[in-house]
């Protein structure tokens, strides 16, 4: 019209017309490449199931394998039971009932998530073992002189491990169950009421069955963490797969056999993933009406209120307050802070780099999936998310075995034991966290946004850069933060793969505790816990906001 447009787009149009490449093909290729890179270590371990190991495997099978399987199963059973009771019970109480502090408990019950299980294990040992304050006080009170005079439960045992892990892992179940209760349409419950159910029976017969898939998903997550745990079981001398992998590799120097142990462990995990997927599949048909209102709450009085408060406050006290204050007390007493700065620096750099990398890799994966939601791309994204279910020790094996071979070929230590290899391990292990976050925040952007950007002349890459990324900035940051904190806490992969003489907060906590220097371990442990509080705060804010139907 008025000749303001300087350049006519016609030559470009003609040139572009020559290429009939389907749109977004480059992004699909990139996603494919990234998915293969991330899934490679897991596939390496799986491939090891068939590899020959010259008798080491049969030796393992004859000697320790039975104990590993038995201990892992008992641990899973115990923790599964513990987190179900603790998680569903507390979620039920704070969602359905009103009693003193119930509103504060809604978010406070998430706090134990900030505690790595191994840290809690150390503090419990410090509190409850023979030299600890509890037994000393008992001896002073009753005049006992030695351990032979009385019986006291042994903390460093399978039962102790179950206890400790239940205390820090129940929030997974709590979170899922609570979200499920809140998402349920109040209409469903009211329908049950009009059909003659009391509030209590409406809950048990309608709300609870509806929440079942969410509960199963939460338990599956908690059990994955249980199988991943190394610090607790190692310290409590409970032989499970993770300690077995560690010992077989570093103690016996048999990486191939370690990889086979890892492969067996992955079978355990696989069954958990399948259980979770199946329950999620059923969960899709949840909501039949769109009317949400806060669930009617039962006002609890007197003894009932006290019992409810005691039950809900117990995991918070035992999983967070007690170990947290114990750590704080040790730090104040000893204040052995020397070297903490370097440790924190190492942890921060590793976690920061891993967080940024995880988001940078998750973005093209999620974007390719949005551009082309084909089975191939969706499969790629799932494949790249596989690592979250796989224990850190298994991933370490899956990376180190090929890297060691590669280094041997090149005649030197180029990759093994470097920060690069370690970051790769973190990426494999925690990519799913950032992929989920990026996926869901990308899903909230209406497709007409990119259609608008494209008709206004922006290509796919530019649309991502100028429209999607600015719109998702907060979600990307919180995705990076989630990975950051997971990496801060991560122990098994870091222990196996860290460069020589390189320590992080987590590894130093572990080595100090292994040397029975529990009080010295308190400072790095407390630093990890404090960092872990950040995402918990994010989560509880999100939970407070996700309350359908507003405040009342």
């Amino acid at each position: 019209m008025c000749g303001v447009m300087s350049a006519s787009p016609s030559p470009r149009l003609a040139a572009e017309a020559l290429s009939a490449r389907p749109p977004g093909a480059g992004w699909v290729l990139l996603a494919l490449a990234l998915a293969v890179l991330v899934a490679l270590p897991v596939l390496m371990v799986a491939a090891n199931l068939a590899a020959p190991t010259e008798g080491v495997w049969s030796h393992l099978a004859e000697t320790v394998l039975g104990a590993y399987v038995a201990n892992s199963l008992w641990l899973m059973l115990g923790v599964g039971l513990g987190v179900t009771i603790g998680g569903v019970g507390t979620a039920w109480l704070v969602t359905m009932c009103r009693f003193p502090f119930s509103r504060s408990l809604e978010w406070a019950l998430l706090l134990p998530m900030a505690m790595p299980a191994y840290v809690v294990a150390y503090t419990y040992t410090g509190v409850l073992d023979y030299a600890g304050p509890v037994q000393s006080a008992l001896r002073a009170l009753f005049g006992w002189s030695s351990a032979r005079d009385y019986w006291f439960p042994e903390v460093r045992s399978l039962g102790g491990a179950i206890w400790v892990m239940s205390m820090v892992l129940y929030p997974y179940v709590y979170m899922m169950a609570r979200a499920a209760f809140l998402e349920q349409s109040v209409c469903v419950l009211e329908a049950a009421r009009t059909l003659g159910r009391s509030p209590w029976r409406a809950f048990t017969q309608v709300a609870l069955p509806l929440a079942r898939p969410a509960v199963v998903a939460g338990v599956a997550l908690a059990l994955m963490e249980t199988l991943n745990d190394f610090g607790t079981v190692h310290y409590f001398a409970v032989d499970t797969f993770t300690t077995g992998i560690y010992r077989t590799w570093l103690g016996l120097g048999q990486p191939a056999a370690a990889a086979q142990l890892g492969a067996v462990l992955m079978l355990f995990v696989l069954s958990l993933v399948l259980a979770e997927r199946m329950s999620r599949g059923a969960g899709r048909f949840h909501h039949t009406t769109g009317r949400y209102r806060r669930l009617p709450q039962l006002e609890l009085k007197g003894g009932k209120a006290a019992a409810a408060l005691a039950f809900s406050a117990m995991p918070l006290a035992l999983g967070f307050l007690l170990p947290g204050s114990m750590l704080a007390a040790w730090v104040i007493q000893d204040a052995a802070l020397s070297g903490l700065g370097e440790l924190a620096g190492n942890s921060l750099i590793l976690a920061g780099v891993a967080g940024a990398t995880a988001v940078a890799v998750a973005l093209p994966l999620a974007y390719a999936q949005r551009l082309r939601p084909s089975p191939l791309v969706k499969g790629c994204v799932r494949l790249a998310s596989l690592g979250y279910a796989v224990p850190g020790s298994v991933i370490a094996v899956g990376i180190m075995v090929p890297l060691t071979a590669l280094d041997r070929l090149m005649g030197g230590l180029f990759l093994t034991g470097t920060v690069v290899a370690l970051t790769y391990a973190y990426l494999v292990r925690f990519l799913a966290v950032s992929v989920n976050a990026v996926e869901s925040s990308l899903g909230k952007i209406t497709p007409s946004m990119e259609a608008a950007a494209r008709t206004l002349g922006a290509g796919l890459g530019k649309t991502l850069r100028r429209v999607h990324i600015p719109m998702m900035r907060t979600s990307l940051l919180s995705a990076a933060l989630l990975v950051f904190v997971d990496v801060m806490k991560e122990l098994p992969a870091t222990l196996l793969m860290r460069p020589f003489n390189f320590d992080t907060l987590a590894t130093r906590t572990f080595t100090l505790a292994s040397d029975e220097r529990l009080a010295d371990a308190a400072a790095p442990a407390l630093a990890i816990v404090l960092a872990g509080l950040l995402p918990v705060m994010l989560l509880s804010r999100a939970i407070a906001r996700s309350r359908p139907g507003g405040e009342e």
């Binding site: 019209m1 303001v4 787009p9 003609a14 572009e16 749109p23 209406t446 259609a451 719109m471």
Partner: protein, 356 residues
């Protein structure tokens, strides 16, 4: 004034499917330079898909699309939307929430130098009367204001073609009439060729130079609004542009006999079943004690009145018929009236045909 090409948009025998389900079948249409064409049809008729194909947001399975004489889709070619130079106005406006009004309008102008970009953005904002809101954020704007900003954003880079997807459906009735009027003027002054999608026939007639009526993925009829109204190609098109009375009849001697009179049936075979469609506004009434119809209900609707009639004719089943009378002329209920039907408002189509 308008120097942008000579031949606008040509869609040539385009077909498309989603996962094996045909949504657009052999659609051909043309939007001439400066012309405003409406795609009109019920939801799911493929009109939005046709629009997205024109934008390049979908690659059609078959057929070709030309923009200003250049092939942009088909024959193994697909020019992506960012190189087509079209403006798209979305149903939900799709304003970028992280950019302010000016930033939104400038988004498509980044090939211009900064001062020129600003100048052009402010000029289009002026055109839609939103200059005062240049620094506002999308969430601070009302629906009508968002629509205007979206229009300015789409128009800013001087598109060869404007594509509008139900652009007024998010607005309430009163605001809609006003925004529609303004949009029409903005589009006509900028002289841009426009293809617009709507399901509202009144809106289509208000906006369009020509209308393409779509049904089940096909263009059933295309023409000027008056032509579609007075010479509908079939019962579906006739009923699209307003309520219709439908009477069943059989062809005898080149015509059909109904309770309300005899209508010529050109092109229909002898003794073929036929449907007679009569617009309520084509029925006029005169009070008469021996009239063939009884007034059942009579409602005053503002500018017109709607009268429900029962027509009784010897040897025929009683018929229910609506008549729309201008003004406040309301016959009393129970009164007997004589009918007259304007032949220009009555259409005879084969029965079992499309529509009915």
């Amino acid at each position: 004034m308008n120097t942008m090409g000579t031949d606008g948009l040509i869609i040539d025998a385009v077909s498309h499917d989603y996962g094996g389900k045909d949504v657009v079948r052999e659609v051909s249409l043309r939007v001439g330079p400066g012309e405003l064409v409406c795609l009109l049809g019920p939801s799911g008729c493929g009109k939005t898909t046709t629009l997205r194909i024109a934008a390049g947001l979908e690659a059609p399975r078959k057929g070709r699309v030309f923009l200003d004489g250049r092939l942009v889709s088909g024959d193994g070619t697909h020019v992506p939307p960012e190189h087509r130079h079209v403006g798209f106005l979305f149903q939900d406006y799709a304003l970028f929430p992280h950019l302010d009004v000016l930033g939104n309008v400038e988004f498509g102008l980044d090939r211009l130098a900064r001062p020129a970009r600003r100048e052009r953005a402010l000029a289009v904002l002026e055109q839609v009367g939103m200059t005062a809101y240049a620094g506002a954020w999308p969430h601070q704007l009302s629906g009508g204001q968002q629509q205007r900003v979206a229009l300015a954003r789409a128009l800013a880079p001087h598109p060869r073609l404007m594509l509008l997807d139900e652009p007024f459906s998010g607005l309430d009735k009163r605001l809609r009439d006003q925004v529609r009027d303004e949009t029409l003027h903005v589009l006509k002054t900028s002289g841009v060729s426009t293809l617009m999608v709507t399901h509202d026939p009144e809106e289509a007639m208000f906006m369009a130079d020509r209308i393409a009526v779509m049904r089940a993925g096909r263009v059933v009829q295309m023409g000027e609004p008056a032509e579609l109204y007075s010479r509908p190609a079939d019962a579906f098109v006739a009923s699209t542009f307003g309520e219709i009375n439908m009477l069943a009849a059989r062809v005898a001697g080149g015509a059909v006999e109904t309770a309300v009179g005899r209508f010529a049936a050109p092109g229909l075979a002898e003794s073929q079943a036929a449907g007679v469609l009569i617009r309520p506004e084509g029925v006029s009434l005169t009070p008469a004690a021996d009239g063939e119809a009884v007034v059942l209900v009579s409602h005053h609707l503002g500018r017109s009145s709607l009268v429900h009639l029962r027509v009784e004719k010897d040897g025929m089943a009683p018929q229910h018929l609506h008549a729309r009378l201008p003004g406040t002329l309301c016959p009393a209920e129970g009164a007997r009236v004589r009918l007259a039907v304007d032949p220009a408002q009555a259409f005879v189509f084969p029965a079992n045909g499309e529509g009915g």
